[in-house]
């Protein structure tokens, strides 16, 4: 059982922030969340952090590991630890820090509520469905037939609302009113899940503002960081294409 050195960002209300170091004994097949659990259970129960499902479905545990936004529940220790240097754990960027690794995500969920994306969507007509195409490259796809009394199978959306893209986005750092990659991607998803023209008008209107899609400067950091392959940047650009096309057709009265 290797001894993993951790360097954890600590902040309590009113005190200056600092880094605590400790070493935890966990098997090398473990995930980073197991290291945080051990640090909390063994070394310091006052360490506050978020986690729930442990398999990248709830989106609560997102933090920065060695400066890069990741989900510790599905990040293998061997992928991020070189065996010597302490693993640095920081809260997500671009959110106020409430305590230690916990950040205040209320403004994030305001954005998601504004997009009002339903959390379930139509399941693909094939299996397997994955967000990590490398991992299951070997499996060949098979079609799914629906039982007669089923119009469709549903599944939960790919986006687990973890906030990683908001932390990676340079514009989110500076602009409190920017809808952000997750908000805009949710608007795209909601727009394509409804055929009610009024709702489509409203969603596109939300995205068309000064702090909507036009604030994105093509850094694509959100798509690089997203653990669920949602590709928010691609969705922002697709929204832009539709908004541009709408503008031209309005201008030429098509």
């Amino acid at each position: 059982m290797p001894k993993v050195p951790l360097q954890i960002f600590r902040y309590k209300a009113g005190e200056p922030s600092r880094y605590d170091t400790c070493t935890v004994d966990i098997p090398d097949s473990a995930h980073v969340i197991d290291a945080i659990d051990a640090a909390w259970a063994v070394h310091d129960p006052s360490l506050t952090f978020r986690r729930a499902c442990h398999h990248s479905s709830c989106g609560s545990c997102a933090i920065r590991i060695n400066g890069v936004e990741k989900l510790p529940c599905v990040t293998k220790l061997s992928d991020v630890w070189d065996g010597r240097t302490p693993l640095r754990l920081d809260p997500l960027r671009n959110f106020p820090v409430v305590s230690d690794l916990v950040v205040d995500i209320s403004s994030f969920f305001q954005r998601m509520s504004a997009a009002d994306m339903a959390i379930t969507c139509e399941a693909e007509a094939f299996l397997p469905f994955t967000v990590d195409s490398f991992a299951v490259a070997a499996l060949e796809r098979k079609a799914v037939e629906l039982p007669e009394d089923f119009s469709r199978f549903n599944r939960f959306e790919q986006c687990i609302e973890c906030g990683i893209c908001m932390s990676a986005c340079p514009t989110m750092a500076a602009d409190d009113r920017f809808l952000g990659p997750a908000g805009l991607a949710a608007i795209y998803q909601a727009r394509h899940k409804t055929d009610d023209p009024k709702k489509v008008e409203h969603l596109l209107g939300l995205a068309d503002g000064e702090h909507g899609v036009w604030r994105c400067h093509s850094a694509f950091e959100c798509t690089e960081a997203c653990p669920q392959a949602v590709d928010p940047a691609g969705k922002i650009m697709a929204l832009r294409r539709e908004l541009i096309a709408r503008r031209f057709s309005k201008m030429w009265g098509k």
Binding site: V42, S57, C58, C73, N94, S107, P128, T130
Partner: protein, 425 residues
């Protein structure tokens, strides 16, 4: 807006009783919702994030009850009733693709008659479908299956399951205080009158009084109960679950036989979760995952779906479940139903523990606890959670928590909530 509080005249008659619920897992969240809906003042105390304990690391199976219809009918009936209610109160928080019980061996096939009979007895709608049909619907199912029975299984997402209950509770006036640990119970004579809390965000200690305290701390309920010198016959029983790097099935796949290890594969978003095993643990906070349990999940899962063998693991997890000890039998046959202990009978008043059960039956557990709490506090309010639609889980993080200065200051003018960044980028 869901139904409002108790009518105004009642409030004038007497002050509203205050109930503290310890634990924001599925039971605690549903209890807070039920009590708030009945007009009580509720405060939920959770030492971590919502669904930080057992409920978080969940198999996410919205039970149809089929799994218990032969061995534990009481539990099976609870499951199917709650399954149908949850579809009404949180319709958009569920994957509803039904489930399949598949027979792999002659023994499984023999079990089918008792299974169908059990389902009928527990009014679980179960229809047998042909093997060909089953393989067409679930292409990665083991082609060597001998029979398949379709039941109304579903899938929930445990974190949002709790958030929806708590957001609705907050809309009805409840307070939810996360990252606040109960360090001690305040007892005066034979009465538990309050809790001592340590807020891990500020390090501040606080004492909160209440008319009644509900202990919904799951496998930690014993620890909390010990602070009032009462015991709870509960055995924290850990179980391992393995999540795959892809979603191999849309329907929940169960092995058609008596409950055993690793005989269910539940889809969840872009993964499939194989579960579960069970062994007794004494410290639910730190569970080391035995490697052979993980391997057993893969070999069991492989029987339902051979492709499991060549799909990498996305994650593996273990959590303790608060099973109720029934005469100290082997952990597996412990009853899956839930139990509400009114510690008045152990000589400690104003303190109730709720343990056992499953997330699927959280609402029913909450109803039972709330009935007991209301009877003890003589509040005449009926349970209305069966048909009260829950608000969006997203509201939970937008509702101002009075002490947590950071979240949205509701009612302010159009000021944007400060979403600044931390110093150490």
């Amino acid at each position: 807006m869901p139904a409002g509080n108790v009518s105004l005249e009642k409030e004038k008659l007497k002050i509203i009783p205050h109930v503290i619920v310890i634990g924001a897992g599925s039971t605690g969240s549903a209890t807070a919702h039920d009590l708030a809906l009945r007009g009580l003042r509720v405060t939920v105390i959770e030492r971590g994030e919502v669904a930080f304990g057992t409920t978080g690391r969940n198999h996410c199976l919205l039970h149809s009850g089929g799994r218990y219809c032969v061995t534990d009918r009481e539990s099976a009936i609870e499951c199917i009733d709650e399954n149908m209610i949850l579809r009404k109160i949180m319709p958009d928080l569920l994957e509803l693709n039904d489930g399949l019980f598949v027979a792999l061996t002659e023994a499984d096939l023999a079990f089918k008659e008792r299974f169908l009979e059990g389902c009928a007895a527990c009014h679980i709608p179960a229809t047998e479908i042909s093997v060909k049909q089953a393989l067409a619907i679930e292409p990665f199912l083991n082609p060597k299956i001998l029979a398949a029975v379709r039941v109304p299984d579903g899938v929930f997402e445990p974190f949002r399951f709790c958030l929806a209950f708590l957001a609705t509770a907050r809309e009805n006036g409840a307070a939810v205080r996360t990252y606040s640990e109960v360090t001690d119970l305040v007892c005066s004579g034979k009465n538990v009158t309050g809790v001592k809390i340590l807020d891990h965000r500020t390090g501040q200690k606080e004492t909160l009084n209440a008319d009644l305290i509900v202990n919904a701390a799951g496998p930690w309920a014993g620890e909390i109960a010990a602070k009032a010198e009462v015991s709870v016959p509960e055995i924290p029983t850990a179980g391992v679950m393995v999540a795959l790097d892809c979603r191999l099935n849309n329907m929940v796949l169960n092995r058609l036989n008596k409950p055993s290890d690793g005989d269910i594969v539940v889809p969840q978003r872009a993964t499939s979760v194989i579960g579960t095993t069970s062994w007794k643990v004494d410290d639910p906070d730190l569970i080391t995952i035995p490697a052979e349990h993980v391997e057993r999940m893969i070999t069991q899962g492989e029987q339902l779906m051979p492709a499991v063998r060549n799909v990498p693991m996305r994650a593996k997890m273990a959590v303790a479940r608060p099973l109720i000890a029934v005469g100290g039998t082997e952990a597996r046959d412990v009853s899956r139903t839930f139990e509400c202990f009114d510690h008045a009978r152990d000589g400690m008043n104003g303190f109730v523990t709720i343990a056992g059960g499953k997330t699927t039956t959280a609402r029913a557990m909450a109803q039972k606890v709330a009935d007991i709490v209301c009877r003890k506090l003589d509040v005449a309010a009926e349970c209305r959670t069966r048909d009260t639609l829950l608000v969006s889980y997203r509201l939970f993080f937008q509702q101002a928590d009075p002490r947590n200065g950071s979240s949205v200051r509701s009612g302010q003018n159009r000021s944007f909530q400060r979403s600044g960044v931390n110093e150490h980028a």
